[in-house]
Symmetry: C2
Subunit: 601 residues, 2 copies
Amino acid sequence: MNFKFTDVNITGGFWKKLEERNRNITINAVYDRFSDTGRFEAMHCTWKQDSGIPAPSIFWDSDVAKWVEGAAYILAKHENPDLMAKVEDVIDAIEENQWEDGYYNIYFTVGEPESRFKSRLNHELYCAGHLIEAAVAYYEATGRDRFLKLMEKYADYIERAFVTEKTAKFVTPGHEEIELALLRLYRCTKKEKYLDLCKFFVNSRGQQKEEVYPFANEAYDQHNLPARELSLAEGHSVRALYFYTAMADLANQANDTELLSACKRLFDDIVNRKMYITGGVGSSYIGENFTVAYDLPSENAYTETCAAIALIFFCQKMLENEINSVYADTMERVMYNGMLSGTSYDGKAFFYENPLEINLRNHYRNTSLVKKDRLPITQRKEVFDCSCCPPNINRVFSSMEQYIYTKKDGVYYVHQFMQSTLKDGNAAIVQTTDFPHCGKISLKFNGIKTAAVRIPYWCREFSISVPYKAENGYAYIENPENVEIEFKLEPVLYGANAEVNGLSGKAALMYGPIVYCVEGVDNNVNLHRLSFAEILNASLEHTDELDTTAIITDGYIYNAPESLYAPFAASYEKVRIKLIPYYLFANRGESDMLVWLDVRK
Amino acid sequence: MNFKFTDVNITGGFWKKLEERNRNITINAVYDRFSDTGRFEAMHCTWKQDSGIPAPSIFWDSDVAKWVEGAAYILAKHENPDLMAKVEDVIDAIEENQWEDGYYNIYFTVGEPESRFKSRLNHELYCAGHLIEAAVAYYEATGRDRFLKLMEKYADYIERAFVTEKTAKFVTPGHEEIELALLRLYRCTKKEKYLDLCKFFVNSRGQQKEEVYPFANEAYDQHNLPARELSLAEGHSVRALYFYTAMADLANQANDTELLSACKRLFDDIVNRKMYITGGVGSSYIGENFTVAYDLPSENAYTETCAAIALIFFCQKMLENEINSVYADTMERVMYNGMLSGTSYDGKAFFYENPLEINLRNHYRNTSLVKKDRLPITQRKEVFDCSCCPPNINRVFSSMEQYIYTKKDGVYYVHQFMQSTLKDGNAAIVQTTDFPHCGKISLKFNGIKTAAVRIPYWCREFSISVPYKAENGYAYIENPENVEIEFKLEPVLYGANAEVNGLSGKAALMYGPIVYCVEGVDNNVNLHRLSFAEILNASLEHTDELDTTAIITDGYIYNAPESLYAPFAASYEKVRIKLIPYYLFANRGESDMLVWLDVRK
């Protein structure tokens, strides 16, 4: 089981700073940009056909809902009347504009009221799911149940439209999200009907011919096969991972081993064949899609921030099904890299795409043309037309507590290393650490018979001050009291499977869970000429500029003749290479960036 | 000076086979596909506005003209009444449909007669140039002057429209070609007015504000600067090179040193910063453009076949200006690689784009989507909508004679190694060779005081049976009679300038002038895992399949752990790598292909 969000508190260290940045800066930055762009106003359904301004987008409800969910987690622990007033205003808008039957959706209410639930391609159930998640979070955070009641009414209507009365013109949605939301609603309200409705949506997928997006086939939105037959992570990566999350959650909730087997196959396909070293997933901008095995190009990596976040959700639900460190390892990989990279250092701007390489030359190569090559942007932006990632960042950064501890079969698990406390009745854990800056973890346990601490995949040398038994990547400790752990942190080069194109002979530097990168601003040379020395001879250096630990290693610059082509005579000049954490790239102006470098003896 | 096309005969060997393939197969294949697609019929201007079929394309005249030019060279040396009848039919069509004033253009005659010479973007002067080239070639090949007279009439009209009467609504064309054609027409007719008209078009470029293509700026069609101020090869690569060819030809014709200086700067920019090792140029599919220095990506290389051919033209004209082996070296590089690759082994199908890498995974990565990544096609096609390359191939393969010998200041130059004879009054050269299969060249000179033979850039060891003096890459021989030359042919690895992204530490294999590549069909492994051994230990092997010399070298396969990421521990397994000439890639079904491989000790 997961503990209640409020049972855990992050009390200091790396993630406390990020939580504060989110609470003080990012939540307001997203609110302001969403206000500027009319998203909050749109919730009031004031748009008129003849107004001359474009209709609200069909996914704006979800943008606002995710922001509300993020605000809810903040309000659970920090009094903020202004923030609460903003949330209440959203709820007012929903209450005033909810249809008699329970339906609520900005676009279809003001734009096409006759087209409610006519097409599975229209994101209505996706928006509904996010509204439900927000309502549950707000209730659990504040005890206020007005929003929850409105969303129960909506969920009841969905049940009638899709199951009892079948007035909806499709069976399953083209953008999943409702499924995982209904499970949250079920656990919050204890009403079986929501669990049943979740089962209906999960079990119905791939069971009948349904409308497909004109630009795709059935695999794009995961209705090519029944859920229990899925093996390959395919199609739109965020849709896929929201659905896999619901599958894993339902498997656990309903003890459905067949569904769990499918989840395991999908998880295996992702982490062993389709995930960047940063934890980013979804290699192609076309369709924001998962592609084929080992297709992990660096420069045009899509790796949407939302997909990284969704992979954390999937890992969390898998972890509730079974204890294996691969799930919390993967969560950690995503958290410190592909998720964190989505926000600027100042907390105000965002990447939708998180490439593993920036080569500015390729952005400016078409000198005489209007059209440019399609590449990820090189600097974060404050808001996007499709701005799903920023509020997703809000809700994750304000709820990191939920990923640290779980309890299963009486054992208390420590999955993540974040300075924090857990209070669970008479049981308690106090974790003190400066991780990931330092590998020391002090744990004080109280009233706990068995605890288990994850031994992270990147750690090759560690000490634990008390006897333990290692299993599935966890150190099990009986009757724990004070436990001192030290994971040796050191710069380590990682290689990739030989089937990943372009990475043969190349390596990426990691320091603990953090992937590092070179940036042009630190290394005054075409980054493609750099290679790591096999013996790194690394030193750490605090850089105030980004308040982080830079790593300086031995390396080489490739030299070649003046002419364009000449008989091969490689010459390498020794050089020191400066690397910074990948998640901090693109914070000092436009610059080249590279994660994978050749390795030379 | 260049010798007359008919003074030189290719009598055997490598290029004779290709000439025969063009004469027996390719010229007919292109004719058939152009007939199927209505191009020849269109010359008769029978299209009607209300016919329900699309209007002829604005560049179809040029397609047919280039085919006629290719046919003309064939007819010069081989009686072929059927081929001649086809050409005469085209000339009939032109004669019948030429306007009273001399104008001829399919599209504007039938589609928009009121819009003649209204916009520089419409390819009219480009089409006119190709028609003029074809008319000159046909006259010089057969002595028949009907076509030439028609085109003189057209050129006279162009002179009135652009110079005397200025009825044209623009000054310079958006697609160059007329300039070099007018020089040919001038040399053929000896009429100064055509030289003057050429000067008008060359000298007017970049001198006034003119219409730009909506998708580009002035550099796209080289009117950003006056010709004499150009330094950077920019914009559409075929337009650019046709123009640079005219500039170089005019510089020579008019002894214009300022214009020649600009040509030298442009040539330097191309061969030292913007040319693939195959001689291909134009890196970007967007605009078919030259891009920035050292931007030479392999997989999405555009390197249009026409641009390769146009680079040969430019080299030829530079060579007439000054003797330096870099021009004939570059011609040779293009001929044996980036030009030759444009035609299938059977002579019936064509590449418009000539990439240096095929990675099939990238062609099939978007499994659930209709839209695919934009990549060069992997198999040659018989015809394209914009099918400029196939007839360009026709005219070059049927006129390779013109690139072998020149005469300057009384010296007879041997630039290319092709079995052939030259007859120039009392002077004669007989060249016997199986080059590039073998490095032996036998030359018999008759009635020649000084000869000079190019020492190719790729040759590090050679012998010449008589005394010689080396200068500017040529061996000068006084009173030559029988001269035996042997260039040592051996597999050599070439590296690229360190600023070319992605090529640090990589090499391409060359054997004489021929660039080699690995294909998946010969090497049963992901090609990205392969690297060359620094000591190649190469053996040659004749492969009947493609009637060519394959090269087998020592190399390595990169092995990495089963998992997707693991601490770096490079392991390389020794392997023999099979390579074939690059120009023969993609002739045995869809396959991966790669030119540049890592090099390991």
